[in-house]
């Protein structure tokens, strides 16, 4: 049976308007040609280094970018454009966010109340994350970092959302707790939810996700199956291969150079300055995304 696409983002661009010199206005393009989609019953891991636009994607989908952001491109939820009117209705009900920082909890409100007004629903959600019932009556400052993370996860599952966007949900958790949190996301996906998991811990994500979208400098370079990471020859883009080679359990071999800054991007392919297969062709135009072996890749030489 064909699984329905819950969220489809295509050709998303985000530009921040700001003043450059005096009153002159400039734009800083932080995301360009970003695409990603999540289906029912699936976990999509979004991987990439910091500053590659992972969190901005989450904030764009939820419509919580700062006011000076200009968003272009399509964001579709259940096959229809996600307009701001629709978003207001769905946000917190069908679309839930597990935010990146524990600072998103209200410091002056007991955590049980923050998760939901429905006490029984909170109790069930807390049981799931092995939080004691007594925790409901505590304030955020009385909890450890790992407990706050679990409360944040509980706020997302309590809604019974169809789309869960989790932004770095595991740092600060021990290996065992992180594995348990991932297992819960897996359970939610198996029950039919679509989960977008933003992380830079690809190692952990690979054990639980179905597909991986790899971001570099604000654009999608590759979408691969999680199983493709078992063998470097199955990966498509040179950057994804570089990630694979840098993992401690593989070669632990670094690729020189750093990700270019927004506002100082090279022409053509953004990875070209660090790529060992670069030719003049690469610097001419940004490569189009194309389908290759059940995945997507933006590289003219990928095979």
């Amino acid at each position: 049976m064909e699984k329905k696409t819950v969220l489809n983002v295509s050709n998303l661009s985000v530009t921040f308007r700001m003043y450059s010199k005096g009153m002159r206005k400039g734009g800083l393009k932080v995301i360009s040609n970003l695409s990603a989609s999540v289906r029912e019953g699936e976990i999509l891991a979004v991987a990439g280094s910091s500053g590659s636009g992972k969190s901005l994607l989450a904030h764009a989908v939820l419509g919580i970018l700062p006011r000076n952001a200009i968003v272009t491109g399509e964001i579709e939820y259940m096959g229809e454009a996600l307009t701001s009117a629709r978003l207001t209705k769905l946000r917190g009900r069908e679309i839930a966010l597990v935010p990146q920082s524990v600072e998103y909890l209200d410091p002056l409100m007991k955590v049980g109340k923050q998760v939901s007004d429905d006490k029984y629903a909170v109790k069930r959600a807390f049981e799931r994350y092995k939080l004691d019932e007594s925790v409901m009556k505590l304030f955020p400052f009385q909890l450890s970092g790992g407990m706050m993370r679990r409360v944040l996860c509980a706020t997302a599952v309590v809604t019974g959302a169809k789309l869960i966007i989790a932004d770095e949900p595991t740092p600060g958790m021990s290996e065992e707790l992180a594995a348990r949190a991932m297992k819960h996301f897996r359970d939610l996906a198996d029950a039919g939810a679509a989960v977008m998991l933003i992380t830079h811990d690809i190692d952990l994500a690979l054990r639980y996700c179905d597909r991986v979208a790899v971001f570099y400098a604000g654009t999608t370079v590759e979408t691969a199956l999680a199983s493709d990471f078992g063998n470097i020859d199955n990966l498509r883009h040179p950057y994804t291969k570089a990630l694979w080679r840098a993992m401690p359990q593989n070669d632990f071999a670094p690729t020189p150079g750093t990700q270019p800054y927004a506002g100082n991007l090279p022409d053509g392919c953004l990875f070209a300055p660090r790529c060992d297969r670069v030719t003049e062709e690469c610097t001419r135009a940004a490569p189009e995304s194309r389908t290759l072996r059940n995945g997507e890749v933006s590289c003219i030489y990928a095979d």
Binding site: S50, G51, H200, A246, F252, P254, T258
Partner: protein, 209 residues
């Protein structure tokens, strides 16, 4: 022994010690990984070994003498968050020179671009700042390096970059190394033996990898 911690006790209140009766020892040129659940006291021990915290009881010996109270400490600590370990109001040039003045060859090897020296910390990324912390810790008087989750917040490529250049220096100069990490893969890659924190409260030695 190059560095030795004997029967260390430390806590923020007298009645509730964070760590108690901890013994640890490492030899010259040895590369040790320290693993254990979060909150067990790995970072506290790291700070005591580097002389940043004073233990309530017990002592840290460096080449059988107490760790120097003044001047340059031969055991240097590299933190998890470089942005918190660097003075935000100093240009990086000044931060680096607090420890020593490296030459251009060294800076090139450690991957620091000359134009970064005139910038403030807020103008560099986490990975770039961490290179300054590594360069600062690798002063000529340094004999032992403690890396406390030094690469956890970096992406895997930057992590591999930093470790490659650090291991090159450590090998060349025969420095000792203690790595605090949650990643068993990283520990197996970098270290010659792995110590579980729990085992330190009984005896100092541990199993080889």
């Amino acid at each position: 022994m190059l560095i030795e911690a004997k029967n260390i006790k430390f806590g923020y209140s007298k009645s509730k010690p964070v760590i108690n009766g901890v013994n640890f020892a490492a030899d010259e040129g040895e590369r040790v990984a320290l693993v254990g659940p979060s909150g067990c006291g790995k970072s506290t021990l790291s700070q005591i070994l580097a002389g940043c915290l004073n233990p309530q009881s017990g002592e840290v010996l460096f080449e059988n003498k107490p760790l120097p109270r003044k001047g340059f400490c031969p055991a240097q600590l590299i933190y998890q968050h470089p942005e918190q370990a660097i003075n935000p109001r100093l240009r990086l040039n000044a931060t680096l020179r607090e420890a020593w003045t490296p030459d251009a060859v060294f800076l090139d090897e450690i991957g620091i671009a000359p134009e970064w020296l005139n910038r403030y910390p807020a103008e560099l990324s986490g990975g770039e700042l961490q290179r300054f912390c590594v360069a600062r810790a690798l002063a000529p008087q340094t004999r032992f390096i403690i890396a406390d989750e030094m690469s956890t917040m970096l992406d895997v490529i930057t992590q591999a970059q930093i470790w490659e250049l650090m291991l090159r220096q450590i090998e060349r100069r025969g420095l000792g190394l203690l790595v605090v990490t949650h990643s068993t893969e990283l520990a197996a890659r970098v270290c010659s033996r792995i110590v579980r924190f729990e085992s330190l409260t009984r005896q100092g030695r541990s199993t080889a990898v």
